[in-house]
Amino acid sequence: MAARTFTINDQLISAREGETILQAAREHGISIPTLCHLDGVSSVGACRLCLVEIEGSRVLRPACVTPVVEEMIVRTDTERLREYRRMIIELLFAERNHVCAVCVANGHCELQDLAIAVGMDHVRFDYAFPRCDVDISHPLFGIDHNRCVLCTRCVRVCDEVEGVHTWDVAGRGADARVITDMRQPWGEARSCTSCGKCVLACPTGAIFRRGATVGEMERDRHKIAYIVAAREQRW
């Protein structure tokens, strides 16, 4: 495969043809924040945290879906990007009811980690305090919509890896919610195989194993990529 040479933050990088900026950056230890991205499932470019500046481009580009181009000059950590990322994280905290202190994912949460990474010591926007449901009708798992960031990782992993498509998104805009089957209680969603991949995929405490209490919801998200890799390399 042909190699591509380009620059990230003044560092010369070589990447394989067809690789995204995000892949190339991570291989070289350059971190770009992401939330909706999950190794093993398709990228949707929705969270906008991985936006980078590309010299000569008028607009910011999502690193997760932008392929590298020879001699491209990329900046991942400018003042402007830092400020925008912090605002995006603040918007998420203001949008639903994220209470780290009583969350099952406290200490193991990608949203919490991102807040630290972007330097969020408080949220400047007004909190919306929406009313959100908690569904614990499933015998093994639960979903708390207060903590959902609508990254759709559960939807994609269920569709693309488990192949069941129990999850989807209903409604739109701020009213959008992830749903199981006909928006019925998860426990009644007949298509669900209880495989638990959505639990692995969830970046926050929204989808959790029942019985987990504060801070207990640890998960090995790399498993998704392992499953996919194992399937592809099967002979």
């Binding site: 949707v44 470019g45 929705a46 969270c47 906008r48 936006l51 607009v59 910011l60 999502p62 879906v65 400020e83 925008y84 605002m87 995006i88 918007l91 998420l92 203001a94 949008e95 400047r124 926007f125 007004d126 919306a128 960031v149 609508l150 998104v169 409604g171 739109r172 805009g173 701020a174 009213d175 959008a176």
Partner: protein, 536 residues
Amino acid sequence: MDISELLAIAEHENALRRPIGIRCCTALGCQSAGALSLKQRLEEAVAEVDRTDIEVIGVGCMGLCGHGPLVQVDPHGVLYEHVRAADAPSIVAALDGGEATAPQGDPQHPFFTLQKRIVLENSGMIDPERIESYIAAGGYQALYHVLHDMTPAEVIDVVTRSGLRGRGGAGYPTGLKWATVAKSHGDRKYVVCNADEGDPGAFMDRSIIESDPHKVLEGMAIAAYAVGADQGYVYVRAEYPLAIQRLQRAIAQARRLGLLGAQIFDAGFTFRVDIRVGAGAFVCGEETALMASIEGRRGQPRPRPPYPAESGLWGRPTLINNVETFANIPPIIRNGAEWFAAIGAETSKGTKVFALTGKIRHTGLIEVPMGVTLRQIVEDMGGGVPEGRVKAVQTGGPSGGCIPAALLDTPVDYESLQRVGSIMGSGGMVVMDDATNMVDVAHFYMEFCKDESCGKCIPCRAGTAQMLHMLDLIRSGQATAADLAQLEQLCLMVKETSLCGLGQSAPNPVLSTMKYFREEYEALVRGERSEVRGQR
């Protein structure tokens, strides 16, 4: 079907014409005001006087929708406004020197005389429900010419040299888009007509389809030939039942005559067109969302590249143009690239159709050469506001901005409108008078964008909700100067980070009103308006 048959249809149709034609508008605006019963009454009145030299024709939009129902009598061009069914006999009697009871309009008013009709050349002239009427006006000859005398590359060359740019809003060069699709490889290609006219305050595309549906179909067929597509879709809003009905009829008629379908004009060219009816989602005007919707999915945009020209419907190369863009094609083929390029402004060739509405005397649909000033449109053609003064002109709908009265001399072209903080948009032009509070206007658009945000990307989903909340605080006098600064910051972020055009342009109405009418925001911050009026 060959050219002689086509010409024979035209000839036959023209032979049927009577010396005196009473044209009655049957587009949506006039229909709502009673045009259908009026037309029937006119037909009866003609039958009553037993005149075979008079015919009554139902036609598409005549433009001056605010004064409907409209009736115009050929060959003298006498125009009647606000016509009631009861006026019908007197209109027929007036042909013999009687006095018509309906008020007469002035066909020499600048509203009409300053127009340059290319897209609307047949609007209000032909019967949109009969393909023969379109053929008699020269219809489908451009398609014949293209199929028999030109290579696809030559067609693209003509469109490129004409300087035509996309009329959907962004103004991307049409020829370039066609060339990209033509060059892209795929086992199949598609042509899509974007008739998901979602901007509130805009009805150009609805009117074009209701008044002259075949022109759009002919434009699509020419495009399909040029890029190598064999299947077309018209994606039209469910809110436009009359347009859908006329389009369905037009497609069936064209198919029957062999002008759509297999082996068009025996030239080895096949092109089928299907209608896809939208279901109430503004975001589906965005091309990747539109394609998702045609594929039966949630109308959510995806990042570009890949562009639809390379990977569109079902992953195949897809050409997406707006209704007005396609409607420009047959005249360009007929009259040549140079003819078109000679009309309009330096970087914006041809004409633009605008829906002129709001606080203005003459509301309706106009087509003007690019480069005319907003002042000519608003003051000369539109007759200014009924009471008070013009305060601002809003172009581009929720994606556009408010241009203050002081900048009315701005010429209408893509670049000039962008320079003053708005956009050309699809053609909505809403005039506001000094009774309009601009913070309310910004709030109105933001509420729209928040409701229409698909929810996929965070800046648009959460950002529009937050911007709306901040505008609420400002309107209710609870905001501080710091909040204004924060709102501005948020606007810039949403503009630069959102995934699609909806989010990227959602802050525009706020930014432009903050730029030109900042004192209105500041007055509210100082608590100078106790009562909030306007939208809920």
